[in-house]
Amino acid sequence: MDKNKAVIDFLNECPEIQSHPLYFNFSQAKDNNKQIVTTGNDKAINKPYIDGSVLKQFTFTIIDYKSIAYRAVVKQPGYTDENVEDMAEVQNIIDWVEEKAYNRVYPNFGSDCFIENMEVLTDNPNLNGTDTTVTPALAKYSLSIQITYVDYSKALY
């Protein structure tokens, strides 16, 4: 079972992601583009058990590009700030993943794997930087998700 495909299928159920283009590893930096970026998972943290199964982690990052506005936040009734709203949209992805994890709804890693836990590694999105060379200027938000699972594929029994 391809874990990347499983993650893509899983994330495509997220309303915040469904409504915008989702890319895998490569994408153009455009407003509302979302991108899954894979991470090399360190084998040193794998935990082998005496039955041959292994506890592993699968970590990936979601990058979300958002256009930015250079307006001061003002306190007026009905006023909304684009940057604050954008940040909230990214936060919605985190909240959706956390809710799924709480309800133990996980990506399908196949019958050889049992997902133990899924968590977003930060409570709120990272702001990794801005790109002012494009129009509109973009902010790059990211969040990393870690899935802990037991791989039974090499278990003897």
Binding site: K47, P48, Y49, I50, D51, G52, S53, L55, V150, A155, L156, Y157
Partner: protein, 178 residues
């Protein structure tokens, strides 16, 4: 009787999963006296577990300074820590039932198999059956998951034999002594 050699290529280390401990016990079926045999392979989510032989050793030295060592007995035991409360664990449920009733007299009802899958050939793995063993739970709790560490005390009432496969539905065939 010739010693069976390891079924491993030269210098290949035996993977830990090739040493298998299996618990077997009888469970009543329905309301009558009929029972069914239940087995569980131990070791799910356990990172490290060894059979400790706990030998009782007596050593003496004669007037020439030569040592004589007698191994009077062994009392093998094996601890599984963590032994997590896992969904589908038949032994975990059995021990938990004994624990809640404090029916400690029922802890000695287990037969244990030690399968050495690195000895023998496919369909004929060496195994030993210890009859009348005790499994004791030592604690219950933990941090994020419920752990009930257990210690198996092997009886040393051994029947040697072979098993045909490495799943819990194996057939144990005692060795024939001529």
């Amino acid at each position: 009787m010739a010693v069976n050699q390891f079924n491993l290529p030269e210098h290949r280390r035996a993977e830990r999963k090739l040493l298998i401990t299996v618990a077997e016990w009888k469970e009543p079926t329905g309301t009558g006296t009929a029972t069914t045999t239940v087995r569980e392979i131990l070791g799910r989510r356990t990172e490290d577990s060894s059979i400790e032989y706990n030998p009782d050793v007596a050593t003496s030295t004669d007037i020439l300074g030569i040592n004589y060592t007698d191994v009077n007995k062994t009392q093998p035991s094996q601890t599984f820590d963590p032994y997590l409360i896992l969904g589908g664990s038949k032994l975990g449920a059995k021990l938990n039932d004994i624990r809640r009733r404090n029916a400690i007299a029922e802890l000695d009802q287990f037969d244990m198999y030690i399968i050495t899958a690195y000895v023998g050939s496919t369909g004929l793995y060496e195994a030993e059956k210890h009859t009348g063993c005790t499994i004791q739970y030592t604690s219950l709790g933990g941090d994020s998951n419920v752990n009930m560490p257990i210690t198996v005390n092997f009886s040393n009432k051994i029947t040697n034999g072979t098993v045909d496969k490495l799943t819990d539905d194996f057939v144990f065939t005692p060795d024939v002594t001529v």
